[in-house]
């Protein structure tokens, strides 16, 4: 049934593992205990799904049993008329401050591995 779960988080989780193992090896670590990830709301990545795959793919590596810590960055917009920054939600993108409708994304694209915690 695995093949039919339409989740791109499996290949993404494999990328996270690859990056973490490379940095752990460079640091001469024996074990990875924790990964600190930053996930923006607009990144299209679901933290729960990454967690779901993590234990499965990390089990035979030095990251086995490690904990995933997610820092979530909310999606926000900036009004091009008045520079007001406001959260992206609701049913329209109009600026709550001036009512302007020209806006740009101002945050929430992030998706990176910030740091790992390792045992030396």
């Amino acid at each position: 049934m695995w093949a039919f779960i339409p989740m791109h988080e499996l290949s993404i989780t494999e990328s996270i593992l690859k990056i973490a193992l490379r940095h752990a090896e460079q640091a001469g670590a024996k074990r990875i205990t924790r990964l600190n990830l930053v996930i923006g709301e607009l990144s299209g990545v679901v933290g729960e799904s990454v967690q779901f795959y993590w234990d499965m793919i990390a089990q035979d590596t030095i990251a086995a049993g490690s904990e995933l810590n997610f820092e979530h960055v909310p999606a926000s917009l900036r009004c091009l008329s008045c520079d007001h920054i406001f959260p992206m939600n609701g049913k329209n993108y109009n600026c709550p401050s001036c009512g302007g409708s020209r806006v740009v994304a101002a945050g929430g694209d992030d998706f990176r591995l910030e740091s790992i915690e390792v045992e030396e």
């Binding site: 049913k91 329209n92 409708s101 994304a105 998706f111 910030e114 790992i116 390792v118």
Partner: protein, 224 residues
Amino acid sequence: MTVQVPVVEQIMSANDQLAAANRARMDEANVLGLNLMASPGAGKTSLIARTVEALRGELRIGAVDGDIATTIDADRIAALGVPSVQINTGGACHLDASMLQTAFPQLPLEELDLLIIENVGNLVCPATFKLGAHRSALIASVPEGDDKPYKYPVMYRGVDALVLNKIDVRDAFDFDVDYFRQGVEPLNPGLAFFPLSCKTGKGLEAWLDWLRNEVKQYVSGNSG
């Protein structure tokens, strides 16, 4: 002893590097790559078929069709006499850069002006995986409803062109085009918008003009 090791690495960097290699390969062949995305049933293959028929003898078009299974789409496009490669993702919900890379050797890239890459029908995942295409277009369709840009903002905000297909049934679905556009354009100033019907052919000419112009600009910029 536990120590913290700073990493600060973008998770998608491996895919992004392959996407850049794909872009370089297309540039070498002087072919414009168009990533075509939509939910299942919006009319991706129909639009490709219409486009190929209309531009026959004018632009040399090739196609890559991404699907979870079957070669139905690639067969349909190949029947129009267009070089066509099917990628079956075997369950994956999107094309990624490595999948596109494997399709390249099966296509006569040097003999093409435009490569249309039909992504897997999905409004979520393809937005996360860059392919290296020069342009991207999203096809929405009237039966999906006018609120989709608000529900799938990641997908809608990253595209260069937006096609609204099946406008021939707009009245039956109470589709508010202004509300729909307001969900996209504020985040995508200058986005090209093409309401059309692949069934009746209405509105197709504006879409074809956009494609002609994009290919023309690309070819003159790339070789110059």
